[in-house]
Subunit: 204 residues, 2 copies
């Protein structure tokens, strides 16, 4: 299944390792700071190399952060594909949102591009980055439609709307508010957000 990868020289492998380290440091920093607040000095210090060396791997800050986001999207795709294909679509949707929230709380996932965030406007311009979203959205939308046909999701809502709501829940500001309140641990927060997302606030 996997295409044969040509053997790489030691030198090239070293570069790959370093590149990977840079990406990981970037992802981690993007969890703690905003895209605007994160500096190239931060990244260089975290990796332990000179700032100038960064620019041998990535031509700009935008480029670097784009690559970090693409890497995150790849992880999402991997998670989607690893889910039990036979499971109920609704359960898979809950699982994905829950997984995202857990990683958000653990600061293992970069800032999701919110409404007017500079990261979002930056991503707009890099099309290779945007194109990674397609397969993810397509997969989720299929599950949404299936769940609606099974009567597990409100069929009156357009699938695209549900998709956007789920994206929003995957980076829900409520998580930060509940975390700051300090009354709940991470697991409880995930459960609360999932519950209010799918069941709503109203008495049933």
């Amino acid at each position: 299944m996997t295409t044969a990868t040509p053997r790489r020289s030691f030198r090239e492998q070293m570069l790959d390792v370093r590149q990977e380290a840079i990406l990981q440091a970037t992802s981690q920093l993007l969890c703690q700071k905003t895209f605007a607040a994160m500096t190239m000095d931060d990244v260089a210090d975290a990796v332990g190399i000179a700032k100038a060396s960064l620019y041998k791997h990535f031509s700009s800050k935008d480029d670097l952060c784009c690559a970090a986001v693409v890497q995150m999207l790849a992880q999402v795709r991997a998670y989607l594909e690893a889910l039990e294909p036979e499971a109920a679509p609704l359960d898979k949707l809950r699982a994905v949102v829950g997984w995202s929230l857990e990683r958000l709380l653990a600061q293992e996932i970069p800032e999701w591009p919110g409404s007017h965030s500079p990261l979002r406007t930056m991503l707009r311009e890099h099309q290779d980055c945007l194109s990674e979203w397609g397969p993810v959205s397509q997969c989720l939308e299929q599950w949404i439609t299936a769940a609606q046909q099974q009567g597990a999701l409100d069929a009156a809502l357009p699938p695209r709307v549900v998709l956007h709501i789920l994206y929003a829940r995957a980076c829900d500001p409520a998580v930060g508010f509940l975390q700051d309140a300090g009354q709940y641990d991470d697991t409880e927060i995930v459960q609360l957000v999932l519950r209010t997302c799918f069941d709503g606030l109203a008495a049933r």
Copy 2:
């Protein structure tokens, strides 16, 4: 009821007008840009005065944005107090969230302080700013409890949790996503977010 305000000289009134213009421009800019992305030059240009003049009114960027947020909170309080006292608590809660979303869509309300936003950490340090939140939260929490007692809201959820969820919905990233999708007008977006917030995504 109102305390007698001493008469102000023309000069003082001019200053007040200018101060108000600065605050309004700041609020408007904070709708379009992040706190970090908004510059004092932006504000000065929008008002049509020199940047140095800003510092005669507000001692720093933090100070200015704090004042803008306080002004926004005052508007929220005014809206809360203007709501029909006899109305059902649940309806009042829906109304407040809907009002916030409408103003968010119209870009008439500053960026709400999200999870790790620099604005949020900035507000932490200015206590006069934070103290404005108290009355708003107190009022909302009373309505939440009342709605739960009437069986209109899920009584199994702690009121504080409902409060934080509502705050999150009032600045829901879903609004931006749906707006970018371009398929729905503002009124529809508000209705969709309100519906999925209170009723959830699951079929009832």
